[in-house]
């Protein structure tokens, strides 16, 4: 506090700053800028009290996890995370015209179309309805971007994250507006610069759909739709429209750009699959993964598995490049349409191999290999790819992405 500039300006703490106790304030100022773990190295913690209480908690300066941004999205660093809840600031983001700065005081949600009572709701209105919370994953349907041996788990499939979402059931809102029984679809529209729209089938969505206004106990992050988004547990991320401004009930889909020219699956038989909203079961080993290095002896293989159709029933692990499979332990509680954490104890003998995971969900669907997907979908399908993926372990214990396994 005496050092108003803080050490962030040059990214280093002096011994004096550490010893005089300005590190606490400094660490806050430092924020995410530090990538070298400065601020904890060599600090004597037992001969001097630490910094006092603060209004906002921060990560240790030694921990600086980062998402992997591209011009249109930012991926969760799956390889750096434990458990199943994604820290909100590491939740993936994907948008079509940037993140809008929505004024919560001016916010309104319009519900109209095939309803008895077209209504607008303020943020306070939505918060006034009975509240529900639910832990579930979100996943962009374009969540498969292998590049080479130096692909991290996050770079490969970090367009999935998990939060506890809080809001009001969409069915409650539909009742309030008096939804017509003849309405079979609704349009969800965002107030971003793309005014992004998707048509959602009511029958499939209404049982679990939520209008969410909170994420992990606090208002939504702007990147996740602040102040209000649609939440469709288990369905492709794009349909979970963010910055939700309008819902229009209708008796047919609107055939928006995102559900026709994008997010559809051109198949080997010459047909294009449309409204393929449910995300099929998938898993990814996050430890060990590139750029980790392991040693001989006991290693615990860890990762996450999820299915848009419900519960993960089992995760199989292969430590011999797919020749044999063993059952992993699932961390309880396993929740429907949610990332489940799996682990498998393995004694590495020091010989080069590849470790793989395969998710099986409660419907009996087993995560397929790349060749099976290519055979049934053809080679031009761009979305909804969920192949079994693996990590190659070299004789030196260096872990690399098994790119060969997902090459056409």
């Amino acid at each position: 506090m005496r050092n108003s500039k803080g050490p962030g300006a040059r990214g280093r703490f002096t011994r004096r700053e550490i010893l005089t106790g300005t590190v606490g304030a400094a660490a806050i100022a430092l924020g995410a800028k530090d990538s070298e773990g400065q601020g904890t190295a060599g600090v004597d913690t037992i001969h001097k009290p630490g910094h006092g209480p603060t209004p906002i908690g921060t990560r240790s300066p030694a921990e600086q996890p980062k998402r992997l941004p591209s011009p249109i999205s930012s991926r969760t660093p799956l390889q750096d995370l434990d458990g199943t809840i994604t820290p909100s600031d590491l939740h993936y983001e994907r948008h079509h015209a940037g993140v809008p700065a929505v004024d919560p005081g001016a916010y309104q949600l319009l519900v109209h179309g095939m309803v008895d009572r077209p209504l607008t709701f303020t943020l306070d209105d939505l918060r006034h309805f009975p509240q529900v919370s639910r832990i579930c994953f979100l996943e962009c349907s374009g969540n498969f971007t292998p590049s080479g041996e130096q692909t991290t788990a996050g770079a490969l499939c970090g367009l999935t994250s998990q939060s506890e979402w809080t809001g009001v059931m969409l069915s409650t809102i539909f009742k309030e507006a008096g939804a017509h029984p003849q309405a079979t679809w609704f349009l969800a529209e965002g107030q971003d610069a793309a005014v992004m729209t998707r048509s959602i089938p009511i029958k499939g969505a209404i049982g679990e759909a939520m209008i969410a206004y909170a994420q992990n106990g606090e208002p939504l992050r702007p990147e996740q739709g602040y102040p209000v988004r649609l939440l469709l547990p288990g369905w492709e991320g794009n349909a979970n429209v963010k910055w939700l401004r309008r819902i229009e009930l209708a008796d047919q889909p609107f055939m928006t750009r995102e559900e026709t020219s994008k997010y559809t699956d051109p198949l080997a038989d010459g047909t294009a699959r449309q409204f393929s909203l449910v995300m099929d079961a998938r898993s990814i080993i996050t430890t060990p993964s590139y750029p980790h290095q392991i040693g001989q002896g006991w290693n615990e293989i860890r990762g996450i598995a999820w299915s848009g159709r419900g519960l993960i029933r089992r995760v199989d692990i292969s430590t011999d490049s797919g020749q044999t499979w063993k059952t992993a332990t699932l961390q309880q509680p396993v929740l429907p349409k949610a990332h489940a954490r799996f682990r498998y104890l393995w004694q590495w003998d020091g010989k080069p191999t590849e470790v793989l995971s395969r998710a099986i969900d409660e419907t009996g669907y087993a995560q397929p290999d790349w060749q099976t997907l290519q055979a049934v979908r053809g080679r031009r399908t761009r979305y909804h790819q969920n192949p079994v993926t693996g990590w190659k372990i070299g004789a030196d214990g260096v872990v690399r992405f098994g790119i060969e396994r997902v090459r056409s």
Binding site: H96, S261, T264, P266, L267, A272, R273, G378
Partner: protein, 217 residues
């Protein structure tokens, strides 16, 4: 509903535990239990409506309701041809999508060969014969012409979305359709003509048939 059941059974257990206290007290407990049970049940009832929200006016709805459906619902009065669209495209779209819709920083809009086939499936694979892939475009993949109007009006141009006039949007829609060989250069696109345009890829689209279970689709 589960919550109500839990609370009721909790009170019931307590009631049976004081059964030796005598007739009067027992009746009191029974009546009290019923009353408490009834009030709990009442508190947990969900009303048909909460009376939350404000009735939306016609004007409010009209301001926001910009969507256009395949049957033409939502298309405004106006008109435009490809000839009229050409200079607008050159000025507002070409920088990202290429002078002729061949793509650039943004998507390819105009289909290359094959004109008669989609860029996927058995016919395409046989036509392609190991050659270079053809991109997905408006001409070879978009199933509805109305989607072009809807999307251009709401989201384009990317650096100033929502600034095109109705006639500019019709003209650009016509230019894109004409360049893809779907309509004539001079054919005006209006609320009547646009929904009647049949896109080459229209019949290829089918709803999702995945249902979970052991079959990979």
């Amino acid at each position: 509903m589960d919550g109500i059941g839990d609370q009721r059974s909790g009170i019931g257990d307590r009631g049976s535990g004081i059964g030796d206290w005598g007739f009067g007290i027992r009746w009191f407990v029974v009546v009290a239990t019923l009353l408490v049970g009834a009030s709990i049940a009442k508190a947990q009832q969900t009303p048909q409506r909460f009376g939350i929200g404000t009735p939306a006016t016609r004007e409010e709805i009209a301001t926001l309701d910009i969507d256009v459906r395949p049957d033409g619902a939502g298309l405004p009065l106006g008109s435009g041809t490809a000839v009229e669209g050409a200079p607008i495209y050159a000025q507002k779209c070409a920088a990202c999508h290429g002078a002729n819709g061949e793509g650039g920083a943004a998507d390819v809009l105009v289909a290359a060969e094959p004109r008669t086939s989609a860029p996927f499936g058995p016919a395409y694979e046989s036509w392609r014969n190991g050659g270079k892939d053809v991109p997905f475009t408006i001409g070879n993949y978009w199933p509805y012409a109305t989607t072009i109007f809807d999307y251009v009006r709401r989201a384009m141009p990317a650096n100033a979305p929502g600034t095109l006039t109705t006639n500019e949007t019709y003209s650009l829609t016509a230019w894109l359709l004409a360049r893809n060989g779907i309509i004539d250069e001079s054919a005006p696109m209006t609320a009547e003509t646009l929904p009647k345009v049949v896109m080459p890829a229209h019949a290829r689209f089918a709803p999702d048939d995945r249902k979970g279970g052991p079959t990979v689709k």
